[in-house]
């Protein structure tokens, strides 16, 4: 089974409930430190999985790409995704977005 596989058993799972965005964000923030460098996030119709370089995964069930709440989660881990197409249906099981983008060194320094 490859590292990118979405069948890997997650290290932890959180069940997202309507109105429970803060708890879901808190779960992600708390568990983030247990992952290594983040690699990608996969968002299906009803779940979201965050993968690190080791292939370890955290899963949030009950939150898919159609749900506007997912935007807050994607932004909280600096996901490279297109908000204009994020919610559109896909034939694939998951939409896959890259992680790892960061601020360039001294990006606001003017010479």
């Amino acid at each position: 089974m490859g590292k990118g596989a979405n069948t890997v058993t997650p290290l932890a799972t959180h069940h997202h409930e309507a109105g429970g965005l803060d708890q879901t964000l808190e779960f992600l923030e708390r568990t983030r430190s247990e992952l290594r460098q983040l690699r990608r996030v996969c968002v299906g119709q009803d779940r979201l999985r965050v993968h690190d370089v080791n292939g370890d995964v955290f899963e949030i069930i009950g939150l898919g790409y159609v749900d506007p709440d997912v935007i807050h989660l994607l932004k909280s881990i600096n996901t490279a995704y297109d908000p204009r197409t994020r919610h559109l249906p896909t034939a694939a099981e998951f939409k896959e977005f890259k992680l790892g983008r960061c601020h360039p060194r001294a990006e606001d320094r003017v010479m």
Binding site: M1, G2, K3, G4, R36, Q37, R39, V53, N54, G55, A80, Y81, D82, P83, R84, T85, T90, A91, A92, K95, E96, K98, L99, G100, R101, C102, H103, P104, R105, A106, E107, D108, R109, V110, M111
Partner: protein
């Protein structure tokens, strides 16, 4: 009179390096690389000056002396440098999952992950030399039976080869590039506990003690296996580049492919830039071949002089590489580069194209993409990042008389090696332009060099090409776009998402373009122009290659 006990050599086990991980030789131990120069005493340099830097006494006790005044540094001194303490994590090898693809070994920017193949009998023979049973068992479990080295030779009636990947803990900077590349779960990052580090240090020591790979398992036709040979490791670990530096990998692969054909009988003239800083931060030098640096703008002119002298000495058969970044080759040294092509001389140019002046803090070069946020094109109210279009040095070089041109990335390993070997085989001037990440300036993770290089090609930001004047009489015969996905189409379509991969997708994944997107993710007009620019450039290449 009391006698002071002599200190062990820097190339031997000592208190600071009990398993002698920081020793000369990459796959096997080797002595210092001595030179017969009256002005440079290698033994003195390595034992006195390097020791001073490694034990921290240099700034207090080393006098300014003649070797320092001459700025001479012996070959390969970076191998004596210890980087064990700069990162909190190190990769661990999981042999049962390994396929022997060699991607991790090839792409490591720091020569910190190494491979070896021995027959079963050879392995048992070597294991028997480990006196400590626990160590013997520990190291035995790190050898794997892969289809590539074990099953395939067996089918041919040869003994199966046992394969081992090892991490050199004294050189690894913990970037996780190798782990990111490994699709087989054969590497994972782990915390550097005492137990992990002791096992890594011991394993690396046994790895070097076990001698070279058995040559019968190394196919010369399989370019990715070249790093199983000691002669290809002419760029040691210990350079001062950032963790995950894309340039480091490019230089290693350049040295490996040149070394595979010419051993260490070749040289480098380097233009000032990041590459010269991290490969000559006194007193550390990762090169095991002659290397020189003068200024920023004159490397091609300097190389012409070296070539002339070498030819006078009868060294016509020794390749000479002229290295530089995009600032040195696209901008400030451009006229010298053009002169080099016009000369028709047998000099090979290698460009580390990071699309920015990385060394001096990230100023725009003519290689920077439209929309890129750099220090000389800061994204603000008046201007949204760089407004000019990117200069295409490959196309300009193609229009010089009879010059070999390639544009490649390290992530396209076979294309890279073939481009470099093609340049070396060509009897005349050649240029290989290599896309490389600069993590701090691009705004991408330390582990993303290969990922971003692949996306740069897929999105037409940086197309692969080879222009070989020997291939025919027409442009389309000489220019090949092989290696680019969907080379007859405008954009490559991702088979998973069924969506085209454009420059906007590339830009979205890097911090240097983040200000080009509004809160809703809409790209700016500047970025849309950049996308059109990349498509126009791609169309031009398609036209020249007869694909349009």
């Amino acid at each position: 009179m009391l006698q002071t006990p002599s200190k062990p050599s820097m190339n031997e086990a000592r208190d600071q390096d009990p398993f002698n991980n920081s020793s000369y030789g990459t796959l096997v131990d080797a002595p210092y690389k001595l030179v017969s120069l009256p002005v440079l005493d290698v033994l003195d340099f390595n034992e006195r000056i390097i020791r001073g830097y490694e034990d921290g006494s240099a700034e207090k006790g080393l006098p300014a002396d003649l070797s320092m005044a001459r700025s001479l540094v012996p070959a390969g001194t970076a191998t004596l440098r210890d980087f064990s303490n700069i990162a909190p994590e190190i990769p661990l090898y999981i042999p049962e999952n390994c396929t022997g693809c060699m991607d991790c070994v090839t792409q490591c920017p720091d020569t910190a992950i190494l491979g070896k193949v021995l027959s079963e009998a050879e392995l048992e023979e070597r294991l028997a030399t480990i006196t400590e049973p626990a160590d013997r068992d520990m190291f035995r479990t790190q050898w794997s039976r892969t289809k590539k080295y074990f099953d395939a030779p067996k089918k041919k009636g040869l003994p199966g080869g046992m394969f081992n990947i090892i991490i050199d803990p004294s050189k690894c900077k913990g970037c996780a590039e190798c782990v990111t590349l490994c699709d087989d779960n054969a590497l994972k990052m782990a915390d550097k506990t005492d137990e992990v580090m002791t096992a890594a240090r011991k394993s690396h020591r046994y790895f070097k003690n076990f001698g070279p790979s058995n040559a019968q398992y190394i196919s010369d036709n399989l370019l990715i296996d070249m790093m199983l040979k000691e002669q290809t490791h002419l760029y040691t670990g210990g350079a001062g580049s950032c963790a995950g530096c894309g340039e480091g990998t490019a230089l290693r692969m350049l040295c490996a492919s040149t070394g595979s054909k010419y051993g260490d009988q070749w040289g480098i003239v380097a233009a000032t830039g990041c590459n010269t800083v991290y490969t000559s931060t006194y007193p550390y030098n990762p090169y095991l071949v002659p290397w020189t640096n003068s200024l920023f703008e004159n490397a091609p002119a300097y190389a012409i002089g070296v070539r002339m002298r070498w030819d006078q000495m009868g060294w016509q058969d020794r390749p000479l590489w002229c290295l530089g970044g995009d600032g040195a080759m696209f901008d400030i040294g451009f006229q010298a580069l053009s002169r080099l092509f016009a000369s028709g001389m047998n000099i090979k140019v290698f460009v580390l194209d990071t699309q920015v002046y990385s060394n001096t803090g990230g100023q725009a070069s003519t290689s920077s993409f439209t929309g890129q946020n750099t220090k000389m094109s800061v994204h603000g109210k008046v201007l949204g990042g760089k407004q000019e279009r990117r200069k295409e040095i490959a196309q300009i070089a193609m229009m010089h008389p009879r010059s070999y041109v390639a544009q490649t990335t390290c992530a396209h390993t076979n294309h890279f090696y073939r481009s470099v070997l093609g340049a070396l085989e060509f009897d005349g001037p050649a240029i290989v332009v290599c896309y490389t990440t600069c993590q701090p300036e691009h705004g991408v993770g330390d582990n993303m060099a290969a990922d971003q290089a692949r996306l740069a090609v897929d999105s037409r930001a940086f197309p692969l090409l080879v222009y070989d004047p020997r291939k025919g009489n027409t442009l389309k015969e000489r220019l090949s776009l092989q290696g680019n996905p969907a080379s007859k189409d405008d954009w490559y379509v991702n088979p998973k998402t069924k969506e085209p991969v454009t420059f906007i997708d590339f830009a979205r994944s890097e911090g240097r373009f983040s200000k080009q997107f509004d809160r809703d993710g809409n790209p700016s007009q500047t970025l849309l122009r950049a996308k059109e620019d990349r498509l126009e450039n791609w169309h031009l290449l398609q036209e020249l290659a007869g694909l349009r």
